[in-house]
């Protein structure tokens, strides 16, 4: 069923049941997100896609559109700054060392940082000690960079048994991303590459390919994360 709503004051038409991110994208409005993957179930973990819906802050990936909705994405300075703050929080929570990270130039968090005009985090860096896990033969697990989006947890499974390869252990600030090294060792090269590409940061790194793309030719240097999202090529 076709419905009518407004995004930043402009009237748009949409199909009932679609989420706000997709509808905005179809209408040329980019909403950043670090957990949502088009065509996959919404995770709603990162909150980077926060927008105002009828004046209330909502996650655009989990919220289906409804007739008469008034959505504010870029017209409201408060929500724009809130999204920026959310990205800054992710940087200050982990230990992100872009200059030497293999994912630099292909990292969605880094690209989103640029997109929201982040210059520096307003929040103090926590410098939380996180132990790396390189035991798997196929991937480096760099916990310093995990933003707990849970993409890998929900979307990467052992092809034979369907079991999860990645999981989150603990709660709150004690959470950590875990890997089942035995299952990870059985991943095909294609699945390793899928998992590595799916990770929005440099937490899951394919051990077989490093720094292959020259500077200037890396994913988000060729085309910005915003342009990719608007062209429905996001991911």
């Amino acid at each position: 069923m076709s419905i009518k709503l407004t995004i930043d004051g402009k009237e748009v038409h949409a199909r009932s049941g679609e989420n706000i991110i997709d509808v905005a994208s179809q209408n040329g409005v980019y909403i950043p997100s670090l957990c949502y993957v088009k065509g996959k179930p919404c995770l709603g973990t990162c909150r980077t896609c926060s927008v105002k819906v009828n004046g209330r802050v909502m996650a655009a990936c989990t919220m289906p559109v409804a007739d008469g909705m008034e959505i504010e994405v870029n017209d409201d300075a408060e929500i724009v700054d809130m999204r920026k703050a959310l990205v800054e929080l992710l940087f200050s929570e982990g230990n992100h060392n872009c200059p030497s990270c293999e994912k630099s130039g292909r990292c969605e968090l880094q690209a989103t940082g640029y997109e929201v005009d982040m210059m520096v985090s307003r929040f103090p860096y926590r410098f939380t000690p996180r132990v790396v896990d390189h035991a798997s033969k196929t991937v480096f697990l760099q916990r310093d960079r995990c933003i707990f989006c849970q993409r890998c947890v929900d979307m990467v499974r052992d092809e034979r048994t369907g079991k999860k390869i990645f999981s989150i252990k603990g709660r709150g600030t004690h959470s950590s991303i875990e890997i089942d090294a035995e299952l990870a060792n059985d991943m095909t090269p294609q699945q390793v590459r899928y998992a590595s590409d799916l990770c929005p940061v440099g937490c899951i790194i394919d051990k077989t390919q490093g720094y292959d793309d020259p500077i200037g030719q890396r994913k988000f240097e060729i085309k910005s994360i915003k342009d990719r999202a608007l062209e429905k090529e996001h991911r």
Binding site: G210, D212, I215
Partner: protein
Amino acid sequence: MSKKLVIDPVTRIEGHGKVTIHLDDDNQVVDAKLHVVEFRGFEKFIQGHPYWEAPMLLQRICGICFVSHHLCGAKALDDIVGVGYSQGTPMLPTAEKMRRLGHYMQQLQSHVTAYFYLIVPEMLFGMDAAPEQRNVLGLVEADPDLVKRVVALRKWGQEGIKAVLGKRMHGISSIPGGVNQNLTIEARDRLLNGEEGLISLDDAIEFAQDGLNLFYDFHEKNRKQVDTFADVPALNMCLVGDDDNVDYYHGKMRIVDKNKEIVTELDYHDYLEHFSEATEEWSYMKFPFLKALGREEGSVRVGPLARVNVTKSYSDSTPLAKAALERFHEYTKGKANDMTLHTNWARAIEILHSTEQIKVLLNDPDLQKEQLVLAYDQSMWSGEGVGVVEAPRGTLLHHYRANQEGNITFANLVVATTQNNTVMNRSVRSVAEDYIGGNAEITEGMMNAIEVSIRAYDPCLSCATHAAGQMPLVVSVLDSKGKLVNEFIR
């Protein structure tokens, strides 16, 4: 009354250092030391990172000679994954030549920075000129055309680095087993022919000759001072190829004495068997030396002066530099040259040598070929690697170990400035004795002479202590009881 002089900080060098000079009751020099007062710790915090991050992270030790650190690390990684020189595997031609091109471009821009911005002011205005004049701004005022050429030459070097490594600073080119891109025809032609705002290769060679002529002129006018200033002994070390000539990217480590006789020659993978390091509580910078000869006799000089002392000649493909080198060799009649200010002569020769080596490479079609990386698999993993290159300031070594999981478990960096620690201290002592000793009144010019002796080595104390920030220097004068009598702080 006896005195202690302090120069703190030493200026126009990279990093933080200070000098203390102890004088007795007759104002004679009792002791003189260069202290390096910064500490960084890169060797420690790289541990636990994936092995392939080492050349990317450790190059950030320095904003000047990052390509050298990057390449040293890359050579060590080649060994670790099983396709390095320690396995006897030659690098693919395109990969090696791309690495060399980036290396020579960096040597050019680094030497140009040191020579023209940091050293030439004293050559033009004198060591005892007013501090307000003897700096790059004074240079701009005195000879704006020279400075324009210098800026253009350095820019050309930086653009060359960008063409190879993707960025002017801290780019990424080398990956285990090779490089991640070749040189496009467009990038090559831009460097060869120049464009608006960018000089051509021929201009670069011409400007490089200006630098050499500047030294000749300075030498002619100040021969006695240039030849006697900090004439201190040391063995000389650099990498040499099979032709006995310096090889800035790969070769054997050769150490020669005053007569240019080979004292030791080694495969750099065996450096731990030959070298040891001493430490002093008054400096964060270590003192490497050859075990067989002990600390005093076995300390080596590295860098431009050492390289031109060790190398027999240069290739015929670099005729201008070769002729300049012959003139240099003739000056000391076959003996190694220990005159510290001749380091600047050597540096000017190497600026020219870099431009001519770049010319050879830019005209080499191998740079456009597609085979970039040697194939390897987990069965070839060695887990240990050593890389050595001739960085602008001298022989640079990176040594890593990584476990089967791919974690770096150990890193050791021996940088050029560290190798020069003993000879720099000898130079400071020599100049202190010649310029300060016996004088009742210490002038600013005398203190600057101390700095000139250090600056000739273009030391990078940030690299050498693996520390942060600019390099100011302190000179202190102490009395015989260790009491501070005089101090210059910049």
